[in-house]
Amino acid sequence: DTAVSQTPKYLVTQMGNDKSIKCEQNLGHDTMYWYKQDSKKFLKIMFSYNNKELIINETVPNRFSPKSPDKAHLNLHINSLELGDSAVYFCASSPYRGNENSPLHFGNGTRLTVT
């Protein structure tokens, strides 16, 4: 009964391919996020959705397209993968209408390797 689950855990693919990472949360949260952790471990937000509506888009290349079919799911599709896309991608969720003191709950990450 993992709270925030993302699949796959590892993804190895070649440049130019298109791939998707799926994320689901069973916490009843309204808001979901995608973060990217680069090779230096720096974590940076990419997107945030609240009840299926995009609320944050942090100047991410348009090769990255998040899709939220419902508030429990936020998938990340990446087109024309590049070497620089290699990173760990984290999905997270939090209550939106709740206290901002509520922490983000993170998934276990997807390590994407582009060769």
Binding site: T31, K41, S48, I56, P103, L104, N108
Partner: protein
């Protein structure tokens, strides 16, 4: 822009000793929230402790406590009686308000090594 600075890329501590990890942040907002997350080699992101900016009292969670100095914009983490399981990357994070999507802005992290 809101930034979070962790000036110590790496720290070491002897088992059972105390260590303090530094964090400073820059903001013009008056109401915000601060967090420390731990990332062990398993790469899970685990919440360690949280602090509301409007509270003057420093947060404490068992062996973990913070020294929150709002005027100085400082939010350091103290780990007492360090254990081998505390070895991990520690991230300080600043959370913006609802109008900014409640997003977390992270520092660059501090690697904590625990020596036996």
């Amino acid at each position: 822009a809101q930034t979070v600075t962790q000036s110590q890329p790496e720290m070491s501590v002897q088992e059972a000793e105390t260590v303090t990890l530094s964090c400073t942040y820059d903001t013009s907002e008056s109401d915000y929230y601060l967090f420390w997350y731990k990332q062990p080699p398993s790469r899970q992101m685990i919440l360690v402790i949280r602090q509301e900016a409007y509270k003057q009292q420093n947060a404490t969670e068992n062996r973990f406590s913070v020294n929150f100095q709002k005027a100085a914009k400082s939010f350091s983490l103290k780990i007492s009686d360090s254990q081998l399981g505390d070895a991990a990357m520690y991230f300080c994070a600043y959370r913006r308000g609802r109008e900014y999507g409640n997003k977390l802005v992270f520092g660059a992290g501090t690697i904590l090594r625990v020596k036996s």
